[in-house]
Symmetry: C2
């Protein structure tokens, strides 16, 4: 995350997106750096039959879609607002200039990319070799780790993802997620209180 003041000074503008609006499409050339100010954005792919895969969900303060700014390729996925959102948008050249002038920001992005690579490496291995319950626990733990601040009562984390989103993050079907979650509850791996999952 880049300091919003710094972003504005560098020439970023704050854009509004309604729920469901698309910020960019797969295969498009990357022209901007994006950072969520308010709301939530997901990056996703659809196959021919319309089955969705969610690459990631980005909440307040998170940036997304930077990789194609660093190398010569197009977006591997679409970006879509999950709820009404405000997103900072900074042109590519200004973003790269900002990095050049602030090595500490460049460093932070390098480690952000590294961490995201770590997550992807884990998920691709999970999806290709592990069974539904295992995959779901991985995703839950990932979101727990990423959304638990130190001040949060860490006894149990409330999962703010729908069953459908869990399905699209793990490559499963929503019915399979619902059934797996129930089994996980029976096994004591998580708890469900009026339909909300806690881990």
């Amino acid at each position: 995350m880049i300091n919003p003041k710094k972003l504005r000074d560098a020439g970023a503008i704050l854009k509004n997106y309604k729920r469901g609006e698309v910020l960019f499409y797969e295969d498009a050339i990357a022209r901007y750096y994006y950072q969520v100010d308010q709301g939530e954005v997901k990056m996703n792919n659809y196959n021919q039959e319309g089955k969705e895969y969610i690459q990631g969900i980005f909440a307040k303060g998170k940036s997304f879609g930077e990789p194609p700014l660093f190398a010569d390729f197009t977006y591997p996925a679409n970006a879509e607002a999950i709820i009404d959102s405000k997103v900072w948008q900074l042109p590519k050249d200004k973003f790269l200039k900002l990095l050049e002038e602030n090595p500490e920001i460049h460093h932070k992005f390098t480690s952000t990319l590294a961490l995201r690579l770590y997550y992807k490496a884990i998920m691709v291995s999970e999806i290709s070799t592990q069974e539904p319950e295992h995959r779901i626990l991985r995703i839950l733990d990932y979101f727990k780790k990423n959304n638990t601040t130190d001040k949060t009562d860490s006894l149990s984390y409330k999962v703010e993802l729908t069953r459908q989103q869990l399905a699209d993050l793990t490559g499963l079907r929503v019915e399979t997620v619902i059934r797996s979650i129930k089994k996980l509850e029976q096994k004591g791996e998580l708890s469900i209180k009026n339909r909300k999952v806690y881990r």
Copy 2:
């Protein structure tokens, strides 16, 4: 890839690994930067039943296992020599110093990470939503793109991967890969000449 002379000057040593030897294990702390001098190294995971997933295969000149050097996490996968190999090994602190003193190298690594993220994003989406034949073509095209030099006769690329490796790269079983490849040949998407795949 870092120039081998530069690597040696920075304090790297060249280590020999026999086929099957492990360079590091999943969950270990990263202590070195690695770069293949001769041979081939794969990074992989095994699940409880021993099913393998290959994260990547690294040939001459390629580096691997850098992400954990840039952020605070352990290796997401093992590294193992596929054939007898020579690998440059540079201690983490010396690697980071090298990056600091050579911003152009740091830049190159940022784009390497970005590109690898692109590949992972594509593969995880493929594996979770696409069918076997589609996945296999993706992998073949990726290896073709990465291993075709401009001087290569680019009419058709000879795939130097076994059916088993293709299976472990796509999350499929070897029998499924064999059958899918035959179907792809019938459809004219690739050709097979005495058991070797050309794309």
